[in-house]
Symmetry: C2
Subunit: 215 residues, 2 copies
């Protein structure tokens, strides 16, 4: 009887642990990993499933040295990503000031935070993606800014409460080049067009999407 009681105690402990791990403020839909041969879908999956990455710009403060900065992002509503990463950046942050002077930037994400890597984060089977392009602010009040804000605030509800006085603005990365490693054999060749047109992401829960889309 005591053993059963202990087992139950342990069960509740693990249950609590799992619930706590899931109850993160940012909302994301779990979409299964695409076939590795579909390289465009693999790249889009990394962007749709991650909620943060590292955005690199050319540092004003350090005479043009590269400056990587951890940032949250979103490419669309959960399960409805466009592949274009949108950011909510303040001019108090060096990345924003760098980008407004020289828009050249890159954005890197790893499969590691998604939780599907079985090996070392640098093993080629643990996918990684770097999008190179131009980091540009969206016109305030524009239709795209509206869409981007919805994309950002759905995955990052806390952003809605960020201080109004901190001059937050929506930026996007206009993608010029795609660097993807998702298996052995070096970087995979994907054009920006193939990446943006990729539709092969399979969503595992349609109910959750429709629920989230209503917000």
């Amino acid at each position: 009887m005591e053993l059963q009681f202990r087992l139950r105690q342990l069960f509740f402990f693990f249950f609590l642990l799992t619930v706590l791990e899931q109850s993160y403020s940012a909302r994301i839909l779990t979409i299964s990993k695409p076939d590795r041969h579909d390289v465009a879908a693999s790249a889009r999956w990394l962007v749709s499933q991650n909620i943060w990455g590292v955005l690199s710009t050319l540092s004003i403060e350090h005479q043009g040295a590269p400056f990587g900065n951890v940032v949250s992002f979103s490419d669309g509503l959960p399960g409805k990503g466009s592949g274009i990463p949108y950011f909510y950046l303040t001019s108090l942050d060096p990345t924003t000031r760098n980008a407004l002077k020289d828009a050249r930037a890159s954005f890197a994400v790893s499969e590691s935070p998604i939780g599907t890597c079985k090996r070392d984060p640098m093993d080629p089977t643990c996918s990684k993606l770097t999008l190179t392009g131009k980091l540009v602010p969206l016109d305030e009040g524009s239709e795209e800014e509206e869409v981007a804000k919805k994309a950002l605030f759905t995955k990052h509800p806390e952003m809605m409460d960020w201080p109004k006085g901190h001059d937050f603005r929506v930026f996007k990365l206009e993608i010029i080049d795609i660097f993807l490693i998702n298996w052995y054999g070096g970087a995979k060749s994907i054009t920006v067009d193939e990446y943006l047109r990729s539709k092969s992401i399979k969503v595992s829960s349609f109910n959750l999407i429709s629920e989230l889309s209503k917000r």
Copy 2:
């Protein structure tokens, strides 16, 4: 009785889940998060507890645009970090070629993968660190290369099996500047000297360290 059986089944499921999550190939010691007022210790903690980050260089291929790349790293044996990030890079990778042409680089890590963030990855309470400096190869056969290899291979045992023909070499980031956000109020001021001298990391398991150090 059936309920008990189901409970047990569920318990084993969560147990398995937890074990799988922990049985990662890379080895790291859990060290508790330092007091936020000790900014140097906070920065050192982020470096000692993470096993991967984004290393940014100036792209040859994209005419000097910043290129962030997901990489594994180590700053020392578990619990005995030096604060200096070491990398094991191949010349097949653009980051290596970029660095050998222009050593200017930065390395960014987030608190997010450590699992201690309670809010959005971009909330200032979820710490982030960018080390700016020069990415230089270590002399082959040097004492520092020996130390760095031990540091890398202990946290990333898979590296020992990476293809010999891929020209892997040990690099380090010679730190020039430290950008840390670990609370509200903008980036914290830390000198490189304060960062390197910080000893205030409290290790939670001495047995595990001594066990790992023996390897």
